[in-house]
């Protein structure tokens, strides 16, 4: 593979080692990491459960029953895994470039808002039209909300972690206001929108359950990422993530890739918001993003920033999240424990990932042009 731009040719041999190291350990190594991480987290979890006098075996049984106990429960796991997978797969490219977009809840809610508004106005249209229009505009809205922190980073060098988090609070506030004012539904005096019409819902995949075709849309991103990896854009992205000095030499626009990567990260969240509203809940409410929250990011990290890894991790976390609901019923454990598990997973990952990620970020900082001119 060679990079040709403006007549300058860079053969493979001259690509610095840091580019190659982005590939990381092999597939088997990643699976091993996954297994060790999960094992360690289960140990801590058991300790916490023992501390509040809950039988871990009983807790496990209720998780198992509520995950694989029946077709209905299995399909519920799919329902929980779908948004996680969508968010994770679109976040993978930006995470590989060392950009931490943790604004999934805000982007998801913005996508849900756009989808609800359009679905309510497209009542008389054919189902295909309604589906495509709502889906595309939800994805675009999510991308726009994610692109704002990207632009702020490209233009002013503002830390994207804080701005994406701030965007979450801003979007949720705006939705809270809309649902108490112009968007409020007619049914009850609650901050909820009207129910979306039938023609906007995704078809059901497993009859008699809530599992919908969204999982197939999410899985469609797997070959997309695979193709991206092997394209020129994918190669430039790897260069961008590994060494920004090289990026400049190759005349790759840092600004364009920064904003583009962040925007792509919002696409999956926007689509998840669309599915959540038109297929699962049928209406918009202020806490629409809570079932997903930051878990999409965990899936991407736990999956070792690969597409296939993300699919495995999304299914496991989907089962865990649905199992968390089952815990409440089966073992009288409040579902907040799932958040502890997510934190543990990320902690394990952060320590395991180690210095490489820190180095990537520090490279990025030293290359900011306005900083250089000041010193």
């Amino acid at each position: 593979m060679t990079l040709v731009r403006d007549g300058v040719e860079t053969p493979d041999a001259e690509v610095p080692e840091s580019v190659a190291s982005v590939e990381g350990p092999g597939f088997a190594g990643r699976l091993l990491t996954l297994a060790v991480t999960i094992g360690a987290c289960i140990l801590v979890l058991v300790a916490v459960l023992e501390a509040v006098d809950v039988d871990p075996v009983l807790a496990w049984n209720s998780i198992w029953n509520s995950t694989f106990g029946s077709t209905r429960n299995f399909s519920e796991t799919l329902v929980r895994a779908t948004p996680l997978l969508l968010v994770a797969l679109t976040l993978v490219p930006s995470l590989r470039a060392g950009l931490y977009n943790i604004g999934a809840p805000g982007q998801l809610a913005a996508g849900a808002l756009a989808a609800t508004w359009l679905a309510l106005h497209l009542g008389g249209q054919p189902q295909a039209v309604s589906l495509v229009v709502c889906g595309v505009s939800a994805a675009a809205t999510g991308a726009i909300v994610a692109a704002i922190p990207g632009w702020l980073k490209a233009q002013f060098g503002v830390n994207e972690i804080i701005t994406t988090l701030a965007m979450n609070f801003i979007v949720i506030s705006v939705i809270g206001w809309l649902l108490n004012g112009p968007f409020k539904g007619n049914y009850a005096n609650l901050p909820q929108s009207d129910l979306v019409p039938d023609n906007s819902t995704l078809p059901i995949l497993i009859p008699g359950t809530r599992a919908h075709y969204g999982i197939l849309i999410a899985l469609a991103f797997v070959p997309l990422l695979w193709a991206l990896d092997r394209s020129v854009v994918g190669y430039r992205l790897r260069v961008f993530g590994a060494n920004q000095q090289l990026t400049r030499q190759a005349h790759i626009s840092r600004r364009r890739y920064l904003i583009g990567l962040m925007a792509f990260g919002g696409v999956g969240a926007g689509l998840s918001g669309w599915m959540q509203v038109v297929t699962i809940d049928r209406q918009l409410y202020p806490t629409v993003a809570d079932p997903v929250g930051y878990a999409g990011l965990f899936v991407a990290l736990l999956g070792g920033l690969t597409a296939v890894g993300s699919v495995v991790a999304a299914f496991i976390l989907g089962a865990l999240l649905h199992g968390g609901d089952g815990l409440q019923v089966g073992a009288n454990v409040s579902p907040e424990i799932v958040q502890v598990v997510l934190g543990l997973i990320l902690l394990a990952y952060a320590i395991h990932r180690g210095r490489s990620a820190t180095r990537e970020i520090s490279i990025q900082k030293r290359r900011l042009p306005w900083r250089r001119s000041k010193r």
């Binding site: 988090l165 108490n180 502890v340 952060a350 970020i361």
Partner: protein
């Protein structure tokens, strides 16, 4: 004028948790550790203070143990990010997610919904009669006075002492600190523990002072606002005080404005976050003492 007095009073009260936590974040960022997990430390402090106070152990142990508990959480950060060389931002984010979850879990699971003992106002006789600002500045609870004293202590630490200089040097040039025979890791660990203690006090001032109980997600993003405050305050103590007061003033105005008009309260909820983004944008244009190793 009565409105002004009321707004001043509530701004100062709302400022206390922000200021205490900002002092902690200031120390750790000066040492070169970006601390996204501040929210977790504050939650640990808030929950511990609540649990100890409701358990009937008294207020002083509650405040002390809040600082200790939050320091322990900061210790996890130190082990993960400083000693095991994990990615500081991700370790912090893990604590940001995990600690509120753990505290909410324990709160719901124990189902203990008592109220904490009331904190008395400590006022300075004479000064608290000053019109307009007297009650706001000279009649507040114990956390306010703690914050004042700690502001002075941290300011003197960085301007007058060798220890403060070492912390600042670690943030700028850890290699130089190492050559001078001090361990940058040790300095960062100490800075993190101090940050934890201060953030724990900030959390305790929320549960014991502001709310009088624990409630799920009590910190509600304040940990992140504090990080922005430190950045806008250009890593200095007076800057932190000014930033904390600005955010608190916005909060106080929010409560006030929505009472008498039809500006929707939900939209005003977004205001501090918009200000935080603007603050961050503005701060990139200013000359600052940003620790050079800090990943901004």
């Amino acid at each position: 004028m009565e409105t002004f007095e009321a707004v001043m009073n509530s701004s100062v009260r709302l400022m206390i948790p922000l200021l205490l936590a900002a002092l902690g974040e200031l120390i750790s960022e000066r040492a070169g550790v970006m601390n996204i997990g501040l929210e977790g430390y504050m939650t640990a402090g808030a929950f511990t203070a609540f649990a100890v106070a409701v358990g009937g152990w008294g207020l002083a142990p509650a405040i002390l143990l809040a600082a200790v508990a939050a320091s322990l959480v900061a210790g996890v950060m130190a082990i993960g990010a400083v000693w095991l060389r994990g990615n500081a931002i991700l370790v912090g984010f893990a604590l940001f997610v995990m600690l509120p979850g753990l505290a909410n879990f324990l709160y719901v699971q124990q189902n203990n919904q008592g109220a904490t003992p009331k904190l008395h106002l400590i006022s300075i006789p004479g000064l608290d009669d000053i019109p307009l600002i007297g009650r706001a500045l000279f009649a507040q609870n114990v956390f306010y006075w703690m914050a004042i004293v700690l502001c002075v202590v941290v300011y003197l630490l960085f301007s007058r002492t060798q220890a403060g200089l070492t912390v600042t040097a670690t943030g700028h040039e850890p290699e130089t600190v190492r050559k001078r025979g001090r361990s940058p890791r040790m300095v960062q660990t100490m800075a993190l523990l101090a940050c934890g203690a201060l953030a724990g006090l900030g959390g305790a001032s929320l549960s014991l002072g502001a709310v009088g109980s624990y409630q799920p997600n009590i910190v509600d993003g304040r940990g992140l606002i504090v990080i922005a405050i430190v950045i806008l305050g250009r890593w200095s103590v007076p800057g932190a005080v000014a930033g904390a007061f600005l955010i608190a003033l916005l909060d106080a105005l929010k409560l006030r404005v929505t009472q008498g008009s039809d500006i929707p309260v939900q939209l005003l909820g977004a205001l501090p976050w918009v200000v935080v983004i603007l603050m961050l944008v503005a701060s990139t244009r200013m000359h600052s003492h940003a620790p050079r190793t800090l990943t901004q």
